[in-house]
Symmetry: C2
Subunit: 121 residues, 2 copies
DNA sequence: ACTGTTGTCAACCGGTAGGTTAAATAGCAG
DNA sequence: CTGCTATTTAACCTACCGGTTGACAACAGT
């Protein structure tokens, strides 16, 4: 199983069934059997999906009598949003600067662009 | 290969190496060999990663002499952000309403909410 | 016309993801 | 204690994923 949290979250949401579960859990908590009902897979398969979501920190389970309601934990979304926004912004900034650059030299001279960088995580 | 775009994007970003490539491409376009340099995998492996990113719509390639610079396409990020924000908001709305509910009945009467779990005592 | 560089394609391999069935665990109702 | 319901665990199977090596295509430079 993927070591880093970001990989776990992205990987968890890469499955349509799991995304659908998240969508339904955003509306209301639900038990495993309730969650399994709409899909034509076994309850065990759904239980596995739930484990993936839980390992990704997307859901939590609380013991309530013999049932174990599943609850959506929305905070983890921030992890993704922050990652995405970071690079989206960076890319947009690039375009902006490229625009400026092109506008500032209609003669086509190459002004030796900044040196390459190493990559962050 | 995953049919729906959302699965493809999430799946593509579930790999740390691919996320790192995206991070570097946010800074500047790069060729396959340049991209491969920091990692201790073969160029072929990187080429495969690139194909995944491309199928997800995250990068595009433009033919330039014998090189094929890779370019980050940031628009696809919106697809994810929209999905995430939608359910995050929905979940937060749920909490808000639950708060209101609890605040609105200090007598402890149960107004028969939807046949839900977690009935407060 | 060769040679070197850049990149892809094909075949293969080990590991893991997602599904199944069958058995085990946990709690509630008689 | 027995049985019913809800859920997880175990064992297994198949398919895909990420990596490899080896061969090949396209182009630049000499």
């Amino acid at each position: 199983m993927a070591a880093d949290p970001l990989s776990r979250v992205f990987s968890a949401l890469a499955d349509p069934t799991r995304r659908d579960m998240v969508a339904r859990l955003a509306v209301a908590d639900a038990t495993v059997n309730e969650l399994a009902e709409p899909y034509d897979v076994t309850v065990q398969a759904v239980s596995k999906h739930l484990k993936v979501l839980q390992d990704a920190g997307l859901v939590s389970r609380t013991r309530e009598a013999q049932r174990r309601p599943v609850h959506l934990e929305a905070e983890v979304f921030d992890l993704m949003t922050r990652w995405i926004e970071r690079y989206r912004r960076q890319a947009e900034e690039r375009y902006r600067r490229l625009d400026d650059l092109l506008r500032s030299m209609p003669d086509g001279t190459e002004p030796t662009p900044p040196p390459q960088t190493g990559a962050p995580t």
